[in-house]
Every structure is written in C-alpha cells, then in structure tokens.
C-alpha cells in the first residue's frame, strides 16, 4: 500500500478559500478548478503536440468539465450511451467522439450511432461481427493488449487482443467488409513509467506497417489510450521527463499518415478537483482517536476502493502535537475508513479535511449508500 501523504497547515489564502466555500456551499464539497483543468489540458497538448486529446468522460462524467474541455478544443472518449447523452446535452457532435468500449450490446451500438459516434473499438472477432450490420457506416479500431508491471491499474487483462493476432483480425474484418481504421491500446491507468507507452507505440507501429500489405484501406489512427499518471504525494510531476520518451517514440516509430490520438482521463481531471469534508463527530476508542467525516469511501473517496488511490490529505491545523488517529467516513459500514494510523493534531467538530487530486474516479464511482446525497460539486 502506498504511503499516505499528509500536509499539515495551510496558507492564509488557502484557509480563507476553503472556509469561504464551505460557508457558501456547505460540506462536503468537490471543487472543480477550471484553471487547473485547462492547465493540465494545455500541458498535455504541449507535451504531445499533434496528438488529438479525447477526454475519457468516465473519469469524471460531469457537464461543467465537458463544457470547459469542449471550449478548449478537446474531443471525447465515450464508453456508454449515457456518456453520449452528456455530450448531446451540450450540443457536442458525435463526430468528435470515439466509442472505446470493446464489448457492447447491440442496443449500445445503435444508441452510439444515433448519437453520431461512428468509430468503434473491438478486440475480437465476435465483437467485430456485432458491428457488421452497420459496417457501411462505421470505422473500427482494434484494441491491442500490452501487459505492464508499472501501472497501478492493469487494463490489458480484461481487454485487448494479443499483438500477434492483429493481422489475422484485420484479414477477417476486410473479408467481412468492415474497415479497420487503426489500432488502440491502453497500457493501464496511472502508468508511472513512460516505457509502457513507448513499447506499445513501437509495436503498434510495426503492426500498422505489416497490416498495410493486407488491409485494402490504409489505417489512419493510432490511439495511445490514457494512463498518463499524476502525483499523489504533493510532489510536482516531472512532465518533461515523462512525456519526452513518448513524444520521441511517436516521432520515431509512427508511420506517416497515421493520426495519433489519446484518451486521457486521470491526467486531465485528477489535479483539478479538491474534496472538502468536515468532522461530524469524534470518539476515543482504545488507543485511537476516531474522527468521523461527512464524506468517505462510499462517496468522494470511493477511488480508494475502486481505483487503488491514496489521496494526499491536508489538515488546516499545523499544531506540532499529534496523536494516532483514524479518519472514517459517514456510513455505518466498517470498511468506510479513509485513513488509519495517521498522525493528526487534535480536530474539533466542523474542522475541515482537504483531499487533493480528487478528480479521477472519485465522484464517478461514488454511491448513495445510506441514502447520503454525497458531496456537492462546484466549479471555481
């Protein structure tokens, strides 16, 4: 388990901001920073010039986020009809999407087509066959699997065909009259070393070259997925060190005429969202001081269960005297614990606990367990 990062104390500006937000909007909150979101988007654009960015809506499916990224010029990775609805509500054309879920019901395919999403991802022949009734309307990407040890969340076990089977699938597809537009991969989320992307880019580029001989239509897309990491320990990520090898791999390996796209989720949204919760009650149980917050792992902190995340926490009070404490969530379940065995200064009811880097797979996977309405979402 990753070491939990905790920051004690806050600048006067920070304190004033958090207290003011809670005064205005109550607690708990998820605060989306427009500025930070745009900063992440622009950094990624700079680091990966020429790569079209398709925001993976699943990371934080929320209208204001879509609106901000839309205005910035992003495209969108959709994985369900519900996500397409979110785009349609804002008049964003399906032309600017790819549908990336490799396994789909027919109803899902039809809903996507109605929403104007016409590029689909598959990873096996049975799924390809489901697309055949629509073959004259669609383009297909084949998802290739690359297992990696350096990612926190492996996405190549559940999805993706082996690199060795791509040529055969391309042959089958063209015999069936479907057009394979390109390849896609997802090295896994929070992929901490660029090596995973670099190797996958190299291998996919080879395959694209090999396939050129048998594919009646040239491929035009290489989708390098998401997976770009963020720092969960208050340290600034070294973007230059991480993205340079990827940028160079694209330059070196990707054949001419192939448009490179990416599906970042976490990288764009994680740093742009801050959770504010407050102490609702406390108890001394044995050697431990328990604090009960108004948000927990069934709410905004759900990523600690589903996303294996360990969010950096900030306590506004920087008193040197600390004791071993437990931060628990508001539900009745004993699994609802945000942090154990951490050192905390004495907290009082109403004191704020700040969770940082809380944009990716937080709200997205939160539940209504105990009929709690969860954090209010605000945009600053």
């Amino acid at each position: 388990m990753t070491q939990r990062a905790i920051r004690y104390g806050a600048t006067e500006d920070e304190k004033a901001l958090y207290l003011d937000l809670v005064k205005k909007h109550g607690s708990p909150l998820l605060v989306i920073s427009r500025e930070k979101l745009l900063q992440q988007y622009n950094t990624l654009k700079q680091q990966l010039p020429g790569v079209a960015l398709y925001y993976a809506i699943k990371a934080f499916p929320y209208p204001a986020i879509i609106e901000i990224l839309d205005k910035a010029g992003a495209c969108f990775d959709v994985a369900s009809a519900g996500e397409i609805d979110l785009l349609q509500a804002q008049h964003i054309s399906g032309r600017r999407t790819i549908h990336t879920h490799p396994i789909k019901k027919d109803a899902e395919i039809r809903a996507a087509l109605r929403g104007g999403s016409t590029t689909f991802v598959v990873d096996n022949i049975d799924e390809l066959k489901k697309l055949l009734p629509y073959r004259q309307r669609i383009g297909v990407l084949l998802r290739v699997s690359f297992r990696s040890e350096t990612t926190q969340i492996d996405l190549s076990r559940k999805f993706g065909c082996s690199p060795d089977s791509v040529i055969e699938l391309v042959e089958q597809a063209s015999a069936l009259g479907a057009h394979i537009r390109g390849l896609s991969f997802h090295v896994g989320s929070q992929s901490t070393l660029p090596k995973a992307h670099v190797e996958a880019i190299e291998r996919c580029s080879q395959i694209i070259n090999d396939a050129a001989a048998i594919n009646p239509n040239p491929m035009d897309i290489l989708d390098i997925g998401g997976g770009f990491p963020v720092s969960y320990n208050f340290e600034d990520m070294d973007n230059e060190a991480y993205f340079t090898p990827i940028r160079e791999a694209i330059k070196q390996y990707v054949p001419d005429g192939i448009r490179v796209i990416a599906e970042p989720g976490r990288y764009l949204i994680a740093p742009a969202v801050t959770a504010i919760s407050s102490v609702s009650g406390k108890a001394k149980r044995g050697d431990y001081q328990w604090y009960y917050l108004d948000d927990g792992v069934y709410g905004s902190y759900s990523g600690q269960i589903f996303d294996h995340a360990c969010y950096p926490l900030q306590i506004l009070n920087d008193e040197a005297q600390r004791e071993v404490a437990i931060l628990a969530g508001p539900t009745c379940d004993s699994i609802d614990i945000i942090a154990e065995d951490i050192e905390l200064p004495k907290l009082e009811e109403g004191d704020l606990v700040i969770g940082h880097m809380m944009g990716a797979y937080t709200y997205a996977t939160s539940t209504q367990f105990n009929s709690l309405s969860g954090a209010s979402i605000i945009v600053i």
Binding site: S93, T118, R137
Partner: protein, 286 residues
C-alpha cells in the same frame, strides 16, 4: 461566422450544411431534433445527426412515395401513413381528390406541432383537411391493433438505426399485409443503397415473406446523398407494379395534380434498378 451542421451518418465522410439561422432545437425522450435555415435549401430538419427533410428537395421524396403507389392503385380511398410528422406525405396523399381518408400515425405529437410551426410549407394546411385522421401512437402498435383497412400504406420512417427500427421488421410487414384491402400496396423508404445495400437485402427478404410481389423503385433525393434512394414495394397484386404508361397518363391527367418531379414516365422508369441493386436483391432472395 456561421456554424455548420455535419451529418454523422458515415464514419469516413459526411456532408455539411451551413446553419444560417437556428429556428428550433430540442432533445426529446425519443430523439434530438433541429430545424435551421440554409441559404440554398431553405429550412432543414435534422434528427440525431441525420438530415430528414429540406424545403428545397422534399417534393421529390414525398411525390415519389405518395403518387407512385396511389396512381398504380388507381382508386385508393383509404391511405395509411406511418410516421411523416412533418406533414409532407399527408399533403401529397390528400391531393388525390378521390381519397376519402388519410390516417397518419405519428409516434411523437411534438413533431407535428413543431413542424406546423417551423416547417409550414411541408404540410401547407394538410393537417386541417377534414379527410386527415391524425393518430398519435406507436406505428407498430397501430398496425397490430387496428380494425381499419387500407388501400395504400406508406411507411415514412427514419432510418432503421433510429427509433423506427421495428418499421423494418417481418412483423411490421406482416401486420401491414393484414390491414391492406385486396389489391392494396405498401411502400416504405429504404435508404440509399450505394451506402446501405444491406438495407435492401434485409427488406427484400423480410417483405417478400409477406407479399408475393416485392420489389423496389427509386429516386434521387439530393440531400440523401449517395445517388438514388430506394423505396420498397410490397403487394399481392403484381399488375400494380407493371401497370402500363397509358393507364398512368390517364390517371395522372384525370387527377389534375400539379407535380414537380413525378410524371407517369418517371413512375415507370423508377422501377428500373441499377444492376448492383438487382444483384443484391437476387442474392438476398436466393
């Protein structure tokens, strides 16, 4: 600078229309709808990213879908239109003076209201004609349940990806046959075969399960780009399809209907299909 509407029908290509003025936009429970003005086409209605109808070329579609079956029949008194919420088909069907009643079944009443307001040139008052019988219902439910009988049935549906999927099913064709009078005919819009030849194949198989005489006729509607579109034809009376030019001319003159696309000659010629369509049909029925 004006916005453009780009169709999302096909992944590798798509036509764009300049939106000179947006009149109406709505996302209903069933569909996402837009009506806007384009300098060349006049008012344009789109549904789920696909052009449905434009003021400039709707006459081709509506004339060909209403007059071909009605003149072939020669004495249609009761006509059923499935869909057609914009009122253009109703308008053309009602131009036949001998028609006693045109029943139009539209799933979404809001489409009719919106069309009356924003596409008045389509219906041109047809909704107020005493011979118009407007029913707000699911077309499939209607054909399954109705006790009424019809001489001509016209299915003016969206494409089969949309909510109109059931209107391309075996069951729909079988129910239409059930409610057709002897000597009756049904026609359906069937897409642009250059892009969607599978739709021709599917309909050929499904419709011929219910009708002894099944074929297609065609017309080129510019904003349904890709060349000709097909209309499916199903009847148990094969003489309707092979009716001679003289009879058609006589009926056309007697009707006194002023058309802009339809002529008896076009009517006859429209049953001649390009070879790739013929082959697809033959293969499907083999």
């Amino acid at each position: 600078m004006s916005d453009f509407f780009t169709e999302t029908l096909y992944d590798p290509l798509g036509q764009s229309f300049r939106i000179d003025k947006l009149y109406y936009e709505q996302k209903t429970e069933h569909q996402h709808l837009m009506i806007f003005h384009n300098a060349f086409l006049g008012r344009v209605m789109t549904l789920d990213g696909v052009v449905q109808t434009t003021e400039r070329d709707e006459f081709i579609y509506h004339e060909m879908m209403a007059h071909v079956p009605m003149f072939a029949h020669g004495n249609a008194k009761k006509v059923l239109i499935i869909g057609g919420g914009d009122g253009g088909m109703l308008r053309e069907a009602l131009r036949h003076k001998n028609v006693e009643q045109v029943t139009m079944v539209e799933i979404d009443g809001a489409v009719i209201e919106m069309s009356k307001q924003w596409l008045p040139n389509h219906s041109q008052g047809a909704f107020d004609d005493p011979r118009a019988n407007i029913v707000i219902a699911d077309g499939m439910d209607f054909v399954r349940e109705t006790e009424m009988r019809f001489d001509v049935i016209i299915s003016d549906s969206t494409d089969p990806i949309g909510p109109g999927e059931v209107l391309f099913s075996n069951d729909f064709y079988a129910q239409c046959k059930r409610i057709l009078n002897p000597g009756g005919v049904m026609v359906t819009q069937n897409g642009v075969p250059f892009f969607q030849v599978d739709e021709v194949r599917n309909t050929a198989i499904r419709m011929s399960a219910s009708f002894s005489d099944q074929t297609f006729y065609s017309a080129a509607v510019p904003t349904y780009y890709g060349g000709i579109m097909t209309f499916a034809w199903g009847s148990d009376e094969s003489t309707l399809r092979t009716i001679d030019l003289d009879s058609l001319q006589q009926r056309y003159q007697q009707a006194g209907i002023e058309t802009r696309y339809y002529t008896p000659e076009i009517h006859r010629a429209s049953f001649a299909l390009p070879r790739y369509v013929d082959i697809a049909i033959a293969e499907a029925k083999a």
